[in-house]
């Protein structure tokens, strides 16, 4: 069981860890340079045998440390989770050590985090985009990227030449399930006020 006793024992064993505030499971803060060693021991010594999730967070352009990764591990021994949070040191060129060697399940998760946030996972066996096409120039889940998208050429140049199509921004305004700024709103259908932002429309606070 993962209780206070377990967590204080863990913090004593791995002195480089610090505890983070969490409403549910034990959450620890680990620096990138200790991350691989920590995960190795969590898997082999502490019984955290399943990688549940690996994802990244963009805390905002103005934040001191902008990008971080979050790893969720589950233990079939303790029947509980641990959450490992690591902050990328460089805001412009975020780097994180890969843990695909330890947990093979992390392979695609890290590719996704790279695809969406541009975090480079060092020593990853195959770090390329997983969702967007290979030469897509942006990282769509970064805070400065508008949901509507940015004008980009189509992935296939020959198709673009024949069809005259390109990747165009699709703002929420004018789309379905979006109400105008004024007028009556329907109660019977899903609806949302349009708060999307694009190149033309300022980003709200």
């Amino acid at each position: 069981m993962i209780d206070d006793e377990f967590s204080s024992e863990l913090m004593r064993k791995y002195s480089f860890l610090s505890k983070r505030v969490s409403v549910d499971w034990l959450t620890v803060e680990c620096s990138p340079k200790n991350l691989v060693d920590l995960l190795q021991s969590l898997r082999d010594q502490e019984g955290f045998d399943i990688l549940i999730d690996l994802t990244a967070v963009d805390h905002g352009e103005d934040c001191e440390s902008r990008f971080s990764t979050v790893i969720h591990l589950y233990s079939l021994v303790h029947r509980g989770y641990i959450r490992v949070h690591s902050v990328c040191s460089d805001n412009d060129n975020p780097i994180m050590p890969s843990c695909a060697e330890i947990y093979p399940a992390a392979n695609w998760h890290e590719r996704e985090a790279y695809d969406m946030f541009g975090i480079k996972f060092t020593d990853h066996p195959n770090l390329k985009r997983i969702l967007m096409w290979d030469d897509y120039p942006y990282f769509p889940l970064r805070k400065e990227f508008p949901l509507a998208g940015i004008d980009t050429p189509l992935p296939a140049a020959d198709v673009a030449e024949v069809t005259d199509a390109s990747v165009e921004p699709a703002p929420m305004m004018g789309g379905p399930f979006v109400s105008g700024a004024s007028g009556p709103m329907s109660d019977s259908e899903p609806r949302a006020k349009d708060e999307s932002w694009t190149e033309e429309m300022e980003k709200g606070s």
Partner: protein, 175 residues
């Protein structure tokens, strides 16, 4: 010898069973009753597409049940689902591989307009890359709606010029 006007009339006993008609009417009649759809199933619409081919809705009642997964054996692409920009290239290449004459059905909101996916990754309507003949509304459309669309496509095939549709121009998508 005096020739009576009724002697020019067709004599079935002498000349056999011959029907006189326009070539368009015959060719289109043949085409529209043997539509071979290419199921371009990309999302949940594909499930409804499968349902319309199964026993309860039975698309074969209308002469277009021969779903072929090879574009070279089919002449009607049913785009059933969300077309992402990454997939758009594939859709176009498969369309290019289909033999002429060919038709496209945009099934459901996503294929027609992008649907609820107003985002950076989703093409806002497959008509940006292929010429669409019939759009089907719904998210996803019921099998009846697809059957109706396919019957509308049959009507459309019946009214086309059977030669001029051998080379289709790519319509310029409205901005």
């Amino acid at each position: 010898m005096e020739i009576k006007s009724d002697q020019f009339a067709y004599n079935g006993k002498v000349e056999g069973d011959v029907i006189v008609t326009r070539s368009d009417a015959v060719i289109n009649w043949i085409r529209k009753h043997s539509v071979w759809p290419m199921p371009m199933g990309l999302a949940c619409c594909a499930i409804e597409l499968m349902a319309s081919a199964a026993s309860r809705y039975d698309i074969s009642r209308f002469g277009m049940e021969v779903m072929r997964f090879s574009p070279r054996q089919s002449d009607c692409m049913i785009v059933a689902g969300t077309v992402t920009y990454k997939m758009a290239e594939v859709v176009r290449r498969i369309y290019d591989q289909m033999g002429d004459p060919k038709w496209v059905v945009a099934m459901g909101a996503c294929a027609s307009t992008g649907g609820m996916y107003r985002s950076y990754a989703v093409m806002q309507g497959v008509d940006n890359i292929v010429p669409v003949d019939v759009y089907v509304s719904g998210c996803p459309p019921r099998p009846e709606a697809l059957l109706d669309a396919m019957m509308k496509l049959q009507d459309k095939i019946g009214k086309e010029s059977s030669v001029s549709n051998l080379s289709k121009k790519q319509p310029v998508a409205s901005a």
